[in-house]
Amino acid sequence: MTSELDIFVGNTTLIDEDVYRLWLDGYSVSDAVALRVRSGILEQTGATAAVLQSDTMDHYRTFQMLERLLHAPPKLLHQLIFQIPPSRQALLIERYYAFDEAFVREVLGKKLSKGTKKDLDDISTKTGITLKSCRRQFDNFKRVFKVVEEMRGSLVDNIQQHFLLSDRLARDYAAIVFFANNRFETGKKKLQYLSFGDFAFCAELMIQNWTLGAVGEAPTDPDPQADDMDMDLDKEFLQDLKELKVLVADKDLLDLHKSLVCTALRGKLGVFSEMEANFKNLSRGLVNVAAKLTHNKDVRDLFVDLVEKFVEPCRSDHWPLNDVRLFLNQYAASVHSLDGFRHQALWDRYMGTLRGCLLRLCHD
C-alpha cells in the first residue's frame, strides 16, 4: 500500500510556524521530519511518523504555492486563493524576508549578480546555512534591490510599501541595498570584527546625510521635486569634500585646530598625551578619507580606510570609548572656531555622519 496522493486543504490556510521555519531554513522534507521527530512532537501529540511526514509534505506544498506570492507581498494581501488572517500574512512575509546575520555579512557590499550567486555554495559551506536558504536570502536581497533601485523617495518607505516589512526589517534592507549599490568593501579581514548591525547603523546615517535624498528633504530646498534618491551618494557633496583638505594641508590651520582641541580636552581625557601625539595623524587620516571620496574605488574602501586610519590607532593606544566620543565631538566642533576655514556646513555634513559611524566602529 503506497500513498499516491495525500492532501489537506483548509478554508483558512493552516500555517505551522515551526514547519515554516524549517522550510525557510532550507531543509528537505525528510530532514524536516527528522528534526520534528527530535523535537519530541510525537510524544506530545501521540502521532506517528507517517502522520508527521504527511503533515510536513502538506505544509511544504502550501509554502511552495505561497512563495510565488511572497515575492511580491502586496499580492499576498490581494490574492483570493489562500484565506490567511492578516496577522499570519504579516508573519509569513516577515519570516520570509528575515535573513541570517552570518549570511548577510558574507554578501554585504557585494554586487548582487549572477557571479555572487555562484559563490553561494562556498558561503553555505562556510556559514553552515543550507544552500537553499542562502539562495532565498540572496534572491530576496536582489529582488528588493531591483524593485527600489530606480525608485525615488525614501528608501525605507519604498521598501516598506512594496514588501510590507516591519520598520526594523525595512531599515535593514535599506542598508543592504545601499551597501550593494555603493559596493562598500566589508569582507576584508580587518573588518571581520564588525557586525551587520554596525554597518546598518552607518548606512542609515549615510543615507540620511550623504545622499541626494538628504538634500532634497532639507526644508530650505526651494524645489521639492528635486532628485531625492536615497541609494546614491551625493556626487556634488563628494566633490566638495576636496575643499576640506585645507584643514591638514594648511599647517597653520592644522596647528590651530590641534591647539583648540587640546586646550578643550586637557584634563578630561585619560589618553590625552596619546591623543596629543597622534592628533595630526588622526586628523590627516580623517580629512584624507573625505578628500579621496571622489573616486569610486576609494568610496568602496571607506570602511577599510576608517578602520585603518582611525579605529586601529585608537585601539592600539587603548582609547576608552568615552574618550573617543569626547575627542570626536571636540574635533568636529573646534573647526567652527577656525576663522580661516569657510566650509563649515560641508564639514558638519561630513563630520556629523562620520562621528556617528566612527563611534559605532570603535569596539573589539
Binding site: I7, V9, D55, T62, Q64, P86, E150, R152, Q161
Partner: protein
C-alpha cells in the same frame, strides 16, 4: 420579455503575462449571455486593466435567466493571430431572481482557466431588472428559493412542508462526442462546464415549477448530483423538500416584543392557563400550540384558536402510569389514518430534511434503504429520460414499501446516490422510516384535533424512539422494552437513523463517530455477468456493514446511530462499503449488553485462554469508552427496564392495523442477534473482525468527532471554525489482493486519515470535528480514493462539563431564531425537572427571545458592522501601507516609477484619492458544512451556490505531481466559492458540501484531470456579540434587507 440583465466590467488585476516581449497583456473582455455577446475595449499593455465599461444590457426571458449562466471571458488581443483566452468566469444569476436574496452581484472574481487554473481576477457588477409578476409565467419558476440546508433555514418558519420533489435531466457528455477528438482539451472542458451549468439551471427551474404547482415557495434540503455515465451520457438529478416558508423577522410581528420582551412573553403562557389540566398533565404543556399566535400570517391565528379548543380535550388522555401504554395503541392507529390521508396523495412521502420543527417527527421506525444494479446504455433521446426516471421510481417505491413494513408512512433524512464503474451503475437510496405529525403537511384548515391530543401524550425527549410498528406483528425480530424515559411506550433496544439527533432528545454522555469499513473482491466481468456478480455481493456487504456497525456501537457502550450513511462503491475488481454514523446513548433506550465471544472448539485449553483474553480486552474497551464518552446512565433503571413479560394480550387491538410485513427490509440483517450479543469466532474471518474492532483508536483527548450537525453532549461552541477537505489515494500492490488484506488497507487508510486530521488541527483543542463526511471511490484498478470534508469547531471545555444545562443551551444554540422552537423549549425542561415549575425556565428563554427580536435592527446594521469587522482584521500591514502612501503622495513624479514597478499599485494610483490599501483586505468568508455558524446569527440567505469545475493538466510533474495539482485545485475551488459569496454580499457559506471530486491521472503521459462539484447556501451572518451591541444601541425600526449587499466585498 420579462427581464433585463445588466453587466458592467470594471477592472482586472494580477493578469498573467501574455506577451513575452513586453511582459504585459492587452486584455479585453467578452460578456456572453444566451446568444448575445458584448465586448469591452482592449486595454493595452497592462496587467491591471481598468475597463470601466458601459452597462451591457441583455433583454431576456426569465426562463433563460434561470437556465443560462452569465459567461465572462477575458482575452488577450493579438493583432496578427487569434486572440488568446486568459480565462473565464461563470456567474449564476439565480440569486438575483428572488426579491429577498441579493440585489446586486459585485466584486472580484477569480478568472479561471481549466488548464492553468486561476489567472488573475476581474471586477464585475451584475444587476437584474425584472418587469412582470413572474409567477404568471409557468415555464419559469423565478422566486422559488432553494436551500441546501437540510433543516428549516434559520430565519424562516415552515408554514407547510409539502414534500418530495425530484427531477432529472440527461444529455450527451461533450467529452464523449465525436468532436472531442478534434478540439482542444480546454474547449472540451469548457463545453462540459457550460453544459452542466445549463443543465443544473434547467433542473432547478423545473423543480421550481413543481414547487409552485404544490403551492410552495421554497425547496429545502436541495441536493443536486451529477452522474458521469461516460459513453452513455451525463445525468443531472436533484431531490429536495418543497415547503412554504415564512420569513421570521417580519418587523411588525416582533417590534412589540422587542420593546417590552419580558411582558409579552410572560403573558402568553398565562393566557393559556384557563386550561389547568394541561399543566397537571406533566411533561406536556400547551405552549407549543401557542406558537401560532405569534405568527403574522392570518391563517395561523385561526389555527391557534382551534387548537385552544382542542386542548380542553386533553384531560381525556389519562396520564396515569401504564394507561398510556394501552391508549398509545389506538392513538397510533388514529394517527396513522390521519397521516395517511395527508400523505396518501403523494407518490413518495419522502423528506430530504434531517432536522425538523419540534413536534413534526412523532416516531422513528429505523433505516430503510434500497439498492439496485443497472447496466448503462446510451441515452438515445435526451428529452425523454424515461429509463433513468423509471430506475429511480422503482427504488423509491421499494423504500416506500420498506417504510410501510415498519409501520411508517413517511421517510425522512432521505438521500440518493450512485456509483458508476464502466457500464455498471449502483443506484442507492436510503432514509429513515418515520411517523410524522400531519400538522405541517397540509393547510391549517384541514387540521383535525387528533394529532393535538397525541402530541399531548408524547413525552418530550423520547417520543421519537417509541416504536411505530405493531408489537405483535413486528417486521423483524426486535427486542422491545418500556421506554426508559417515560416508561409508557415500547422502544427497541437499538435505533439506527439517517437523520440528525432531534434537539429535544434526552442523551447521556457524548457522541462519537462510528465507521464500518469493508472491501470485497469481485471477479472482473463484462456487462450482465458483472451486474449479476455485484448484485449477488451486495446483500453480504450490507449484512457485514451492519454487523460491524452494531459491534462498534456496543463497544462504545451506546445504543443509537444518527446520520447513518452507507456508501457502496463499485470498481473494476472490488466493491467497497463505508458506513459513517454518530453513535449516542439515548436515555430512552435500554443499556446495550456487552459483547460476548464464543469459540467453537471449547476443549482446547490455550484457545480458551485466548478467548478469555480477548473477552477481557473487549470488556476493558467498553468500560474505557463509557468513561471517555461520559456514559453513566442511572443504575436503578436497569431493574425496571427489564423486558415486558406480556406483550401479546395488549396488542390484539391493533391487528387490523398491522401492515403486511411480507416485505423484507435490509434491517432484518442487523437486528438478527439481540440481547446476548455473541460473536462466534469460529474462523479466521471472525477473528479479523474482532481484531479490527479493537484497532480503532479513539481520538486524542480534547478531540471529538461526529458526522451529524451537532455533537451530542457538547453545546457551548466558541466561534473558531475551520472547514477542510482532505483527499487520499492509495495504490494497492496487486500481490496481496485478498479480502482480508484489502480490509486492513482500507481500514488503515481511514484511520490514518483521521489521525492526520487530529494532528493537523491540534492547535484548536478542545474541538470537535462535525459533519465528518467520508466519500470513497475506486478510480482505477488498484486505487482507492477517500475524500473527507468536515469542520472543526472549538468549544469551551469548562462549560462543557456542566451537563445540566445541556438541554437549555442546545435549544438556544440551534433554535434561537425559530420562535416555535423557543416555545417548545420550556416543554423540554419540564420533562427533565418537575412539572410544578414550568415558568422559571421560561425566563431563560426570554433573553433569547429578546435577542431574537433584535434581528431587524441587526440586519439594518449589517453593512456598517461588517465593514468595521473588516477594519478590525487589518493589521499593521495596512498601517504601514497607509503610512507609506501618505508619504508618497507628496511628489507626483514618483508615481511613474511606482506604476512600472508595482503591478498592484497601478490601478489605484489613477484614482489617487483612494490609496490601494484602503480596499486591499479581502473579506473573510467562512465555509461550513453545518447549517449554522457558532456564536453568530444568520440574518439573510442570499441564494444557493452550485458550482462545477474541471481542471486538467498536461504538465503534472511541473505542478508538483498529483498532490500538488489537486491541492492547488481544491484551494482554487474554495477561492471561487468565497469570491462568489462575497460578490453576493455574503460572508459565509453554510451547508457546504463537496458532492463530487473525480480525479483521474495518467502519470506516464504527465497528465491529470479532476472534476469537482460543490454547493451550499450563501448567507450573511452577524456575530452574536455584535448583535447585542447593535440592538441595544439602536431602537428597532423597519429595515431594508437589501442594504447588506455590496459592502462586504471590499
Amino acid at each position: 420579455m420579462p427581464g433585463k440583465l445588466k453587466v458592467k466590467i470594471v477592472a482586472g488585476r494580477h493578469l498573467p503575462v501574455m506577451d513575452r516581449a513586453s511582459d504585459l497583456t492587452d486584455a479585453f473582455v467578452e460578456v456572453k449571455f444566451g446568444n448575445t455577446t458584448f465586448k469591452t475595449d482592449v486595454y493595452l499593455k497592462s496587467l491591471n486593466p481598468q475597463w470601466n465599461s458601459e452597462w451591457f444590457k441583455f433583454e431576456v426571458d426569465d426562463e433563460d435567466l434561470q437556465d443560462e449562466p452569465l459567461q465572462i471571458t477575458v482575452l488577450d488581443h493579438d493583432t496578427y493571430s487569434a486572440n488568446d483566452a486568459i480565462g473565464k468566469v461563470y456567474i449564476d444569476i439565480d440569486p438575483l431572481l428572488y426579491s429577498e436574496a441579493a440585489t446586486v452581484i459585485s466584486g472580484w472574481f477569480p478568472i479561471y482557466d481549466t488548464i492553468h487554473g486561476i489567472r488573475g481576477e476581474i471586477n464585475v457588477v451584475v444587476k437584474v431588472d425584472l418587469f412582470n409578476d413572474l409567477n404568471r409565467f409557468r415555464q419559469s419558476s423565478c422566486g422559488v428559493k432553494f436551500f441546501c440546508t437540510t433543516s428549516i433555514p434559520k430565519c424562516y418558519r415552515a408554514v407547510i412542508i409539502h414534500g418530495f420533489v425530484e427531477e432529472l435531466v440527461v444529455n450527451e457528455d461533450p467529452e464523449y462526442q465525436w468532436i472531442d477528438r478534434i478540439r482542444t482539451p480546454r474547449a472540451s472542458n469548457e463545453a462540459r462546464q457550460r453544459l452542466i451549468s445549463l443543465m443544473s439551471g434547467e433542473l432547478q427551474r423545473k423543480i421550481g415549477l413543481k414547487v409552485l404547482e404544490m403551492r410552495g415557495n421554497a425547496v429545502v434540503g436541495y441536493l443536486q448530483c451529477f452522474d458521469l455515465e461516460g459513453e452513455s451520457g451525463l445525468v443531472v438529478r436533484a431531490i429536495g423538500t418543497a415547503c412554504t416558508l415564512d420569513k421570521l423577522s417580519s418587523p411588525a410581528a416582533f417590534l412589540p416584543a422587542c420593546n417590552s420582551p419580558s411582558k409579552e412573553m410572560k403573558e402568553i403562557p398565562f393566557n393559556e392557563d384557563p386550561n389547568p389540566n394541561t399543566h397537571s398533565s406533566g411533561p406536556s404543556t400547551p405552549l407549543k400550540n401557542q406558537t401560532y399566535s405569534f405568527s403574522p400570517s392570518k391563517s395561523y391565528s385561526r389555527q391557534s384558536s382551534s387548537s385552544d379548543t382542542d386542548l380542553s380535550l386533553t384531560p381525556k388522555t389519562g396520564m396515569g402510569s401504564g394507561s398510556a401504554g394501552k391508549e398509545g395503541g389506538p392513538f397510533k392507529a388514529l394517527l396513522r389514518q390521519q397521516t395517511q390521508s395527508a400523505l396518501e396523495q403523494r407518490e413518495f412521502p419522502f423528506f430530504t430534511l434531517t432536522a425538523f420543527p419540534p413536534g413534526f417527527l412523532v416516531h422513528v421506525g429505523g433505516v430503510v434503504s434500497a439498492r439496485s444494479v443497472k447496466l448503462l446504455d446510451r441515452i438515445h433521446n435526451p428529452d425523454e429520460p424515461e429509463t433513468r426516471d423509471a430506475w429511480w421510481a422503482e427504488i423509491r417505491q421499494e423504500i416506500k414499501s420498506h417504510a410501510k413494513a415498519l409501520g411508517c408512512h413517511a421517510v425522512v433524512g432521505y438521500s440518493e446516490s450512485t456509483s458508476i464503474c464502466e457500464e455498471v451503475c449502483i443506484l442507492s437510496a436510503s432514509g429513515t422510516a418515520a411517523v410524522l405529525n400531519p400538522r405541517f403537511l397540509q393547510d391549517g384548515t384541514v387540521e383535525g384535533c387528533l394529532e393535538q391530543r397525541l402530541e399531548e401524550n408524547l413525552p418530550a425527549g423520547c417520543g421519537f424512539c417509541h416504536i411505530p410498528y405493531d408489537e405483535l406483528n413486528m417486521p423483524f425480530p426486535a427486542h422491545l422494552t418500556y421506554c426508559y424515559n417515560c416508561r409508557k411506550q415500547k422502544v427497541p433496544d437499538v435505533l439506527f437513523t439517517t437523520i440528525d439527533l432531534p434537539m429535544d432528545a434526552a442523551v447521556i454522555g457524548k457522541g462519537c463517530l462510528i465507521q464500518a469499513r469493508l472491501c470485497r473482491l469481485k471477479k472482473k466481468a463484462q456487462a450482465e455477468a458483472n451486474a449479476t456478480a455485484i448484485s449477488n455481493l451486495l446483500p453480504f456487504m450490507e449484512y457485514e456493514v451492519h454487523t460491524q456497525l452494531m459491534n462498534k456501537l456496543k463497544l462504545k457502550g451506546m445504543n443509537a446511530l444518527f446520520g447513518l450513511r452507507i456508501q457502496i462503491s463499485v470498481g473494476e475488481n472490488m466493491l467497497m462499503g463505508l458506513a459513517s454514523a454518530t453513535g449516542v446513548y439515548l436515555a430512552a433506550l435500554p443499556t446495550p449488553g456487552g459483547i460476548q465471544i464464543a469459540g467453537k472448539t471449547p476443549n482446547d485449553g490455550s484457545y480458551e485462554q485466548h478467548i478469555s483474553h480477548m473477552q477481557k480486552k473487549i470488556n476493558d474497551t467498553i468500560a474505557k469508552n463509557k468513561e471517555l464518552y461520559e456514559i453513566n446512565p442511572p443504575i436503578c433503571e436497569e431493574i425496571i427496564g427489564s423486558p415486558i413479560p406480556e406483550p401479546r394480550q395488549r396488542s390484539r387491538l391493533l391487528r387490523s392495523q398491522s401492515e403486511s410485513s411480507d416485505e423484507v427490509t435490509e434491517l432484518d440483517l442487523s437486528h438478527g442477534k439481540k440481547d446476548a450479543f455473541v460473536l462466534e469466532i469460529d474462523d479466521t474471518d471472525a477473528m479479523e473482525d474482532v481484531h479490527s474492532l479493537l484497532t480503532d483508536v479513539p481520538p486524542p483527548s480534547g478531540f471529538y468527532s461526529c458526522n451529524t450537525e451537532i455533537m451530542p453532549g457538547i453545546n457551548n461552541w466558541t466561534s473558531e471554525i475551520q472547514m477542510f477537505t482532505s483527499v487520499r489515494v492509495i495504490r494497492l500492490s496487486s500481490l496481496n489482493l485478498t479480502n482480508q488484506a484489502l480490509n486492513k488497507n482500507f481500514n488503515d487508510l481511514c484511520e490514518n486519515l483521521l489521525k492526520s486530521l487530529y494532528f493537523k488541527l491540534r492547535s484548536m483543542i478542545p474541538c470537535c470535528l462535525c459533519h465528518v463526511n467520508f466519500t470513497v471511490s475506486l478510480p482505477e484498478d488498484e486505487l482507492i480514493q477517500v475524500t473527507v470534508t468536515a469542520v472543526a469547531i472549538t468549544f469551551d471545555k469548562n462549560q462543557a462539563l456542566q451537563t445540566t444545562k445541556t438541554h437549555a443551551e442546545k435549544s438556544l444554540q440551534r433554535a434561537s431564531t425559530d420562535n416555535e422552537e423557543l416555545l417548545q423549549f420550556p416543554l423540554e425542561l419540564c420533562s427533565d425537572s418537575l412539572p410544578s415549575h414550568p415558568f422559571p425556565p421560561a425566563k431563560e428563554h426570554l433573553e433569547s427571545a429578546s435577542s431574537n427580536s433584535g434581528i431587524p435592527a441587526a440586519q439594518r446594521a449589517t453593512s456598517v458592522d461588517y465593514s468595521s469587522f473588516a477594519d478590525r482584521c487589518s493589521s499593521w500591514i495596512e498601517l504601514i501601507k497607509l503610512k507609506a502612501q501618505t508619504i508618497r503622495r507628496g511628489s507626483i513624479k514618483t508615481t511613474v516609477t511606482v506604476e512600472k514597478a508595482s503591478p498592484v499599485g497601478e490601478g489605484n494610483f489613477r484614482n489617487r484619492s483612494s490609496p490601494p490599501c484602503a480596499n486591499s483586505t479581502v473579506g473573510v468568508v467562512k465555509m461550513t458544512p453545518l447549517s449554522f455558524i457558532p456564536g453568530a446569527k444568520i440574518t439573510k440567505y442570499l441564494g444557493i451556490i452550485n458550482m462545477f469545475f474541471i481542471r486538467e493538466t498536461t504538465s503534472l510533474r511541473e505542478e508538483g505531481g498529483v498532490s500538488g495539482f489537486l491541492h492547488a485545485f481544491i484551494a482554487e475551488v474554495f477561492a471561487m466559492v468565497r469570491a462568489h459569496v462575497a460578490a453576493l454580499g455574503g460572508n459565509a457559506v453554510v451547508s457546504y458540501i463537496m458532492k463530487q471530486c473525480v480525479f483521474m491521472e495518467n502519470p506516464n503521459k504527465n497528465q491529470a484531470q479532476c472534476l469537482i462539484n460543490v454547493s451550499g447556501d450563501a448567507v450573511v451572518f452577524v456575530r452574536e456579540s455584535e448583535l447585542e451591541v447593535v440592538s441595544t444601541q439602536q431602537p428597532a425600526a423597519t429595515c431594508q434587507p437589501s442594504c447588506t449587499g455590496g459592502e462586504v466585498t471590499t
